[in-house]
Symmetry: C2
Subunit: 241 residues, 2 copies
Amino acid sequence: MSVDTQDAGEDHLIRPVQRPVPLRQAVYESMVELVVSGGLSPGEHLVETDLARQLGVSRQPVREALHRLQAEGWVDLRPNQGAFVHEPTDHEVDQLLDVRELLEMETARLAAKSASAGAVARLRAICRAGEAAVTDGDTDRFIAVNNEFHAALAEVAGNAVLAQLGQIVSRRVRWYYRLVAPRREHDSCAEHMELIDAIKAGDADRAAAAARAHTERTRTAYHRPDGAPMTLGRPVRPAPA
Amino acid sequence: MSVDTQDAGEDHLIRPVQRPVPLRQAVYESMVELVVSGGLSPGEHLVETDLARQLGVSRQPVREALHRLQAEGWVDLRPNQGAFVHEPTDHEVDQLLDVRELLEMETARLAAKSASAGAVARLRAICRAGEAAVTDGDTDRFIAVNNEFHAALAEVAGNAVLAQLGQIVSRRVRWYYRLVAPRREHDSCAEHMELIDAIKAGDADRAAAAARAHTERTRTAYHRPDGAPMTLGRPVRPAPA
DNA sequence: TGGGTGTATTTTGGATACAATGGACTGTGA
DNA sequence: TCACAGTCCATTGTATCCAAAATACACCCA
């Protein structure tokens, strides 16, 4: 690892030394992974010392990762009590879905206005990879590919701010959704294909409608037939430790 | 400058808070204040040690505050180089304005659908306070009231997620705007009043249009008459330290 | 003179140490 | 049995310490 520090002038022949990623970055990513994959339950108390030991690092990078997780809504930090995995309420999930709908409709519109043939092909390839993951029953892989799809879509849309907000919101939606709702990976892929078609046609309104339909079906799947939301069982009150 | 969390009797730049608040919170707030008020210039290197000394705390809370500032787009953290005040590009500001427009139109729509007479009165009172601040030429106070107005509006709209995203985006827009654009506080107040009228009438579309007009006029003010954006003088390349 | 090199200084990244807070527990008294 | 007080302990908040990385700069040699 301790590579030459002096002759960094020629970076053409030598593989560019991959910059050592700060520990907090690695910790952040593995913790998001943990939360999203269900390795941590809502309300769970995240003890810095334990996390540090499990990850083999000191408390410092763990704390910094926790702060970032809070900024993105994954955990709640209570003063002098530490971090708790965020407990979503049905009300909040509804709000998140509303915002996701707003952001994804706009993303779809922008993408439809500017997508090149190459971009459409790339989206389609990712979507197919998602279908393959569904066929294999590989949920984790599906989720990864799904994230990739939305990232690619955001890139096509060309608004980095929109992309960043969309990613944060969408990942949270998918997390909650995964906690309570029935699987609908297959439908999801079909809906994505519909969206791609609209983008290929350059039809912004149709693309937006497809994005809206996608979110609306998610919302429907999330609610019980009688209209009541499938609940995580938690009212709005603050949770006990 | 020194940061007090509760009752240190020195001269305060930030107002003392009642509950024991973690130092990083106080540090975070005073640093946002610093950036927004123009006390720190884009591209400026924020040396943790210096900040810690200036604020009268150790490096630890400073570092944690910096991470939060990064999450909200105020600073950029480069590995092994530390924090730099974010340098907005014209392109980025345009994207931010697009997103702000999207979020505020939706906020306005929701507010129009659900606003009570009391809420309208409250909004109007805040707006009048803003006009008073303009009359007094008190820009800082105007900014504070403006933030208050948008917070109240978001509360009326009733979507906390939308409110949070909107606040982050809007504050950054206002910061950039303040860096380069001519003052238009007075127009801003008039536009807010227009929005309030639409909300009072319960007319969602008209409210959304008012919100859009508000953002569009901001964008216009931000661009030079010949159509070119007023630039901060920085192209898109990464800035030198 | 100029390009490259070695060294010193600055600054960050991470680890450890210490202080302070809050919850849990236990024991006592009615 | 229950309420309450006092104590203890787990855990967080803050400070300090050390090592690695980056920059700055003087130096050397062609």
